[in-house]
């Protein structure tokens, strides 16, 4: 048998995580051996020490955090726009049936469309500036969040809806006091998807659009390192994208989950 999650509880799961990390870290000497055995040019495969050096230099000089901050700022703005549109859409959809039906159909059409496929149209309509990057983020976030939020809204147990009606809670009061907390498992799942999709979409978009703001974000940083053949900087940038992505996913969103749905016994 490969695994049995329930067998040993927390210590076992910690040991499995350590074991997985040991296997992953074996890639470091494997990388070094491969580049030396096959005499690969440092322009293609720089040494681990050089990559680590470029990573920490970028970190300490503040360049990598500054680039990441620009990307995160764009994602924050894009997410705020997308989530606002989703809430308006879900509320309208819940009160005006035709809006709900149209959004359902549009969601079925646009949800599977990758943001990158829209880039040529976005460039044509919005150019390559900040507006274009925001359009890509909003597109990446809006449809999956809409699908999850709609599902969450429809899944609010009837008893809670009746309780709210009994207490004469309507409109915004109902939304903030009952509907949003009741939908929290769906909203947190949507937040995870939104983060993953917007992070990927922005990094890709920046590689196509170039710098979307002064200095550019992480995507632009990686792209420019390749243009200037700074392969160590390129790998340092990729590593930082992975670090930021993992930190948000496994630390920030995990904390949100622990403080809400897990604490309330609502995790699925």
């Amino acid at each position: 048998m490969w695994s049995n999650d329930r067998a040993g509880g927390a210590p076992r799961s910690r040991w499995r995580a350590i074991r997985a990390w040991i296997v992953i870290l074996l890639a470091v000497p494997a990388w070094e051996i491969a580049r030396r055995v096959f005499a690969v040019s440092p322009l293609l495969m720089p040494g681990i020490a050089e990559i680590a050096g470029a990573f920490f230099e970028g970190l300490l000089s503040g360049e990598l955090p500054a680039r990441a901050a620009i990307s995160l700022l764009f994602i924050g703005v894009g997410m705020a726009i997308a989530w606002t549109l989703v809430f308006v859409g879900v509320l309208l959809g819940a009160t005006v049936p035709i809006v709900g039906d149209v959004l359902d159909r549009l969601s079925a059409l646009f949800h599977p469309l990758p943001g990158i496929a829209l880039l040529p149209v976005v460039v044509l309509w919005f150019g390559v500036g900040p507006a274009a990057a925001l359009v890509v983020i909003v597109h990446s976030v809006f449809w999956p969040v809409l699908a999850n939020t709609t599902a969450g809204y429809r899944a609010i147990p009837e008893t809670w809806r009746l309780l709210a009606r009994n207490l004469e809670l309507r409109g915004v009061t109902y939304l903030t006091r009952v509907a949003i907390p009741a939908m929290s498992p769906y909203l947190i799942a949507a937040l995870r998807i939104a983060w993953a999709r917007s992070w990927r979409a922005l990094i890709s978009a920046e590689m196509v659009f170039g710098a979307v703001a002064a200095g550019g974000g992480m995507g632009w940083y990686i792209f420019s390192q390749r243009v200037f053949m700074d392969t160590t900087g390129l790998f340092a940038g990729i590593l930082f994208v992975m670090v930021i992505g993992s930190l948000v996913e496994h630390v920030v969103l995990r904390r949100v989950e622990e403080a809400t749905v897990e604490r309330w016994g609502m995790s699925t």
Binding site: L162, L163, N166
Partner: protein, 232 residues
């Protein structure tokens, strides 16, 4: 004066009537127990009484005036222990109801704490519903209902999901609260023993959604016979 009156109600779901020309009166401060087999329309009566379900015909009169929308004066206690809001603590669930009637701050906390204490929940104020047993959850639901001091309490088999000893405790608690607070109660159950225990005026419903008997002085053997007839 009647706290609640259902007049010639015709109601159902998806065009299929469950109640046909159904009438019922719950005088202020009295308890009416609706006893009947599963699926006879007891819950539909409560839904109409709470104005959760709009009747096709007939009217609901509360405190002398016709009502068409739910309000906090006719408060429902549901069967499901999941009726508590899981993101609120025990205290939070009671305060949630008080906030809806604009009672906030220290006054609300004091009222909620006093009610929770009467229901034997002192010390559990900061626990979340998922940390409570089924019986405790229903106690919180009772606290949330009684703290509102509603004119009519609508109870949809509220103790059906707890085991027999806990059910007896909850019934005792309810009877004590009703004796002191004197709300009008419309209590629905399919359990003969529970109907006898809750007492008041017991109405036996047929499978066809009609009241076929009324007992003011409930005798278990007589009610058992009436109920058995409805199961045939």
């Amino acid at each position: 004066m009647n706290a609640l009156e259902l007049r010639s109600i015709v109601a159902g779901y998806d065009g299929a009537p469950v109640l046909r020309d159904f009438s019922l009166r719950v005088p202020a401060g009295e308890t009416v127990t609706l006893l009947g087999p599963s699926g006879c329309g007891k819950t539909t009566v409560l839904r109409v009484a709470a104005s959760f379900l709009v009747p096709v015909r007939g009217s609901v009169i509360a405190a002398g005036r016709e009502v068409t929308r739910p309000d906090r004066h006719r408060f429902m206690v549901f069967q499901e222990p999941s009726q508590l809001l899981p993101w609120k603590t025990v205290m939070g669930n009671v305060l949630f109801a008080l906030a809806a009637i604009d009672v906030h701050g220290a006054v609300a906390t004091a009222r909620a704490a006093a009610m929770l204490s009467r229901l034997g929940l002192a010390g559990s104020e900061n626990r979340f519903p998922h940390q409570l047993s089924g019986g405790m959850k229903q106690r919180v639901a009772l606290a949330r209902a009684f703290v509102l001091n509603p004119a009519v309490l609508l109870m949809d088999e509220p103790f059906a999901s707890v085991d027999a000893p806990r059910r007896r405790e909850l019934q005792d608690l309810l009877l004590e609260l009703v004796r002191v607070e004197r709300p009008a109660v419309l209590f629905v159950t399919h359990d003969l023993d529970e109907a006898v225990r809750i007492g008041g005026r017991i109405l036996v419903m047929s499978r066809e959604g009609r009241i076929v008997a009324e007992e003011r002085d409930p005798r278990r053997d007589r009610l058992a016979g009436l109920l058995a007839e409805q199961h045939r």
